[in-house]
């Protein structure tokens, strides 16, 4: 028995050595591992693994590191980490600006996905508030009361994102004169826990939802339609229905950026170009997220599936 195990062991070594040989394709670039950060939401895990697998195909050495969305900038600045695949304009802008200002972190361009964020309600609420999705329906006192709780009554309760996300909802409520109180959830997880709770009971809820995410796929509902966002709306009080206040419109679509350590383009120029070339759109991503979170596939399966179906695209990113 010990003979077989030894030979298997050697066999394993040989296979590994072969894999190492294949990796030599880009030997002129550093063979140190490129560290990509993984956060705690599915979409980002997919984007990152997709990039990682593509880079592996190009012969690069890849390492995935679990890191906090915001704390990761400390690592990106010092070069302990190298690539972060999803930095949302809407939630990460401040931290990203602070980091790029040091010159040690670089914005590697958009991922092609656009973050959609808006007030959202489950479809069953339309019965109590027939004017929806038009935002003006929310001004109706009866409609606002339908969304109220003991603490906010007679005003409606709108569950906003964590304060760290910004979003100007307090200003929006004031500018549009909506009879609503903004309650801030502490985290993303708390936000969806409340939605799950209300949805199970078919109870009233109005909250901040963003996409790409599994929630719009799992729960039936709609986005409130506010006056469409323009830059003037946020900067110029005169714009819009309220002549004295800004923010009398909906939320902007935000880019989702790729960011990386500034030293990357010298250490791994080819990989840098590949990351730069990476693009994917909302629909593709939404489908993949749904496959993982609702259909029970693993991230690796979904990524492998996409790579088989889109071989031409990713080969283009790595110049093959």
């Amino acid at each position: 028995m010990s003979k077989t195990t030894t030979s298997m062991f050697l066999g394993g070594l040989a296979v590994s050595a072969f894999a190492l040989g294949a990796g030599m394709a880009v030997a002129q670039e550093s063979s140190d591992p490129i560290k990509l950060t993984l956060h705690d939401w599915t979409g980002q895990l997919i984007t990152t693994e997709l990039m990682g697998e593509v880079l592996k195909q190009a012969g690069y050495n890849i390492e995935y590191v679990q890191a906090d969305y915001l704390a990761q900038f400390a690592g990106l600045e010092t070069g302990d980490l190298h690539v972060a695949m999803e930095m949302w304009e809407t939630t990460g802008r401040d931290a990203m600006d602070a980091a790029t200002a040091t010159g040690k972190v670089e914005n590697i361009g958009p991922t092609g996905m656009k973050a959609k964020e808006e007030w959202w309600y489950p479809t069953y609420m339309k019965e109590k508030c027939p004017g929806l999705p038009n935002w003006e329906a929310l001004k109706d006192a009866a409609c606002a009361e339908a969304f109220s709780t003991a603490e906010t009554a007679p005003k409606g309760r709108y569950l906003g994102g964590p304060v760290t996300w910004g979003g100007f909802d307090d200003e929006r409520v004031e500018a549009l004169d909506l009879p609503f109180e903004v309650i801030h959830a502490g985290t993303d997880a708390a936000l969806f826990a409340e939605l799950e709770s209300a949805y199970q009971r078919q109870a009233p809820i109005l909250l901040w939802i963003y996409a790409p995410h599994w929630a719009p796929a799992k729960y039936e509902g709609e986005w409130v339609e506010f006056p469409e966002y323009t830059a003037e709306c946020y900067n110029d009080p005169a714009w819009g229905s309220n002549p004295d206040m800004a923010y009398d419109c909906g939320k902007p679509f935000g880019e989702i950026w790729k960011v990386g350590w500034a030293g990357m383009k010298d250490k791994w120029p080819g990989a840098y170009e590949a990351v730069k070339a990476f693009t994917i759109d909302n629909d593709e991503m939404g489908a993949m997220i749904t496959d993982v979170d609702l259909n029970g596939k693993t991230v690796s399966e979904v990524v492998a599936g996409w790579m088989t179906a889109n071989e031409g695209r990713w080969k283009g990113w790595i110049g093959q």
Partner: protein
């Protein structure tokens, strides 16, 4: 009312000071708003720009500070490398195997220890230290981890714990011994310990990441900062409570200082010291969530990821795996401490002399070789994994659908009648009056030094613009501590005399302390919505542990001869409890209260995640804005609250003891 206060003052001079102080306070509060608006809202112009100063200082520390030959950052990176070495070894052994190269190009030279080898080794350790029962417990804990498919992540977590805990215990005990030897050192270290334990980790996370590099090492450092202080405190207390007769005996037989410490003091205070070790293990495991945010991975990451998709079952499984690790490690360490070290057998060959070691090594080798041929021996087969699947989500859903209205009614009653009025009351108070009252309390309880300390710290909170958030913090933590003590002390009293109950309670509080609060926080959000009530539930659940633990410790520590004497004099059981036991246990119970406050404050980071508007949220915002100055200012305000409470609490206990004629005999 005014007249009666004065009359009382003449009759009872000890109260008159308090009466006058309170009267002035109420006067300022009710009528000062017009004349002295700045006493209510600290003027913006006079704000101390502490956030900018601290921000500049951290920048300087990170980029420019130097010792001449090397920079500060190079120094900390060196420390990181020193910590990284044992960590890599532990990780290679348990999780990755020994590798050549890095990243995806790495080649495995040897596989990690197989799951069977790890379980058998730990079981043998249990058998060696505590017999069959402990062995069975350890095997069950690790078996649970494997059975529920948490093995891989658990080993990553275990590796960092195996590095952090010994460092924390050794470092904490060393500081404790120094503090016990030198009162000057004790005075110097106490505020530092308070800062270490109460400044929320998020406040200094970013500087730590710069200094120690992004990854598991920084996580170990952060864990050490947080988990070490209880060890120091307990060591110092335990050593100072060794009975005088023992030290006298030591002196008589001619012990040197070193012998006195290691042969007399440490063995005599072992039970108390083990409470410290227990705390280090528990707090280290408590940090795994935050550690996972900065690259440590492991079970903490699984918990976070599971709860982000609202998969309560998966979150609970990963969370309970953390608890299982905690219980196994804790019980092992307790057993090793309690074990009488008899003479080691010297006869026979090495295998006969060290049967457990030999058994473990044999298992490791055999399982390692067998694992090369049979994969199931090397890694726990996926087909045999269990999962609760959607069961827990369904349980929560069922409660939610059927009982939400009842829960909501109770919650609203507590919220509207207790929490919100108390919050409004505190927010209404003028900062000047509160600072003055605290200073007065300090003066009455502990003299002018304490008065200056309490007054200045309260002033600094206001002067850095944190007053309102600090009051919300006080309100949330105050109510939670009250509930925690109301639950904890009676449970402790019950458990102290009932061995069986104590075993059960211990498991419960260990679970509460190590199960990441996220696991029950998200279901709590579903049932109670975001906000203060949910936060309070989480804080009480976590802070009740020290309230129980220290009460039990204190009661079990009471000299049985004194209880016997009480019984001989005809005391009823109630009298024995109230007049003898609780009084003698007061130092530990006060330490318990102190720790309950510290634990409650340390939960602020978590409560910010369910939408409270306290200092914890400020720290969290600062983290997202990458502004270490702002975060540390808020973090320091938390620490100031802790220090004020702690000092007043201790001075009050001292004064009470002196009045009751207990004196500081034990101290």
């Amino acid at each position: 009312m005014q007249a009666s206060a004065i009359r009382n003052g003449i009759a009872l001079p000890r109260w008159s000071g308090w009466a006058i102080a309170l009267f002035c306070f109420v006067l300022l509060w009710k009528f000062g708003a017009e004349q002295l608006p700045w006493a209510f809202e600290y003027p913006r112009k006079a704000m101390i720009p502490a956030a900018r100063w601290i921000g500049d200082f951290t920048k300087w520390l990170l980029n420019e500070a130097t010792f001449g030959l090397f920079t500060f950052q190079e120094f900390t990176r060196f420390i990181a490398a020193v910590i990284d070495f044992p960590y890599r070894i532990a990780l290679s052994l348990l999780s990755t195997g020994f590798l050549q190269g890095e990243g995806s190009a790495a080649v495995q030279i040897t596989p990690p220890l197989s799951w069977i080898a790890v379980i058998v080794t730990f079981t043998l350790l249990g058998l060696h230290a505590g017999g069959m029962r402990l062995a069975a417990l350890v095997a069950a804990c690790l078996g649970f981890v494997a059975l529920f498919g948490q093995w891989q992540s658990a080993m990553v977590t275990l590796a960092s714990i195996l590095v952090a805990v010994p460092l924390g215990v050794a470092g904490g005990a060393a500081l404790g011994v120094l503090a016990w030897r030198s009162p000057a050192f004790e005075r110097a270290i106490r505020p530092v310990l308070d800062l270490m334990q109460t400044i929320p980790v998020f406040a200094y996370l970013v500087p730590i990441l710069f200094l120690f590099g992004f990854g598991p090492t920084a996580a170990v450092v952060a864990t050490l900062i947080y988990a070490m202080p209880p060890m120091t405190r307990v060591t110092q207390l335990a050593l100072s409570r060794v009975p005088g007769e023992l030290t006298d005996l030591g002196r008589m037989v001619g012990c040197s200082r070193r012998q006195m410490l290691w042969r007399v003091m440490v063995p005599a205070s072992m039970p108390s010291l083990m409470v410290g070790v227990n705390q280090v293990i528990m707090l280290s495991l408590n940090m795994v969530i935050i550690a996972s945010m900065i690259g440590a991975g492991g079970l903490g990451f699984d918990v976070l990821a599971a709860l982000r998709r609202l998969d309560f079952g998966a979150g609970l499984e990963a969370g309970l795996a953390i608890v299982a690790l905690a219980v196994a490690l804790d019980r092992l360490s307790q057993a090793f401490a309690a074990r009488r070290t008899g003479a080691a057998p010297t006869a026979g060959n090495p295998v006969q002399r060290h049967p457990y070691l030999a058994g473990a090594l044999a298992t490791i080798v055999i399982a390692g070789l067998a694992g090369l041929a049979v994969p199931a021996v090397q890694t726990y087969p996926e087909a045999l994994e269990l999962s609760t699947g959607t069961f827990w989500s369904e349980v929560v859903a069922w409660i939610n659908v059927n009982f939400f209205d009842a829960i909501e009614a109770v919650k609203n009653a507590v919220l509207l009648n207790l929490l919100i009025p108390f919050k409004r009351f505190l927010l209404d108070l003028p900062w000047l009056g509160v600072a003055g009252l605290l200073a007065f309390a300090g003066w009455r309880l502990g003299g002018w030094q304490l008065a200056v300390l309490a007054g200045v710290l309260a002033f600094l909170i206001a002067a850095t613009g944190q007053w309102e958030k600090a009051m919300i913090t006080v309100y949330l933590c105050g109510i939670s501590v009250l509930f925690a003590m109301l639950i904890g002390v009676p449970v402790g009293i019950l458990a102290a005399e009932r061995e069986r109950l104590w075993t059960v309670v211990r498991v419960v509080i260990d679970t509460l302390q190590t199960l990441p609060s996220f696991v029950y926080l998200m279901p709590a959000v579903m049932l109670f919505r975001v906000g203060d009530f949910t936060a309070m539930v989480a804080v009480v659940a976590y802070a009740v542990a020290p309230a129980i633990r220290y009460t039990v410790l204190g009661l079990q520590h009471v000299d049985p001869k004194l209880i016997e004497a009480g019984r001989a004099m005809g005391c009823t059981p109630n009298q024995i409890l109230l007049r003898i036991k609780l009084k003698l246990a007061l130092p530990e119970i006060m330490l318990g209260l102190n720790q309950t406050v510290m634990f409650a404050l340390s939960m602020l980071v978590i409560t910010a995640l369910v939408g409270t508007r306290d200092l914890g949220q400020e720290v969290y915002i600062a983290l997202t804005k990458a502004d270490p100055g702002r975060g540390l200012v808020a973090g320091l305000a938390v620490a100031f609250i802790a220090i004020i409470t702690d000092r007043l609490n201790q001075a009050g206990a001292r004064a009470a003891r002196a009045r009751l004629g207990l004196g500081d005999a034990q101290a």
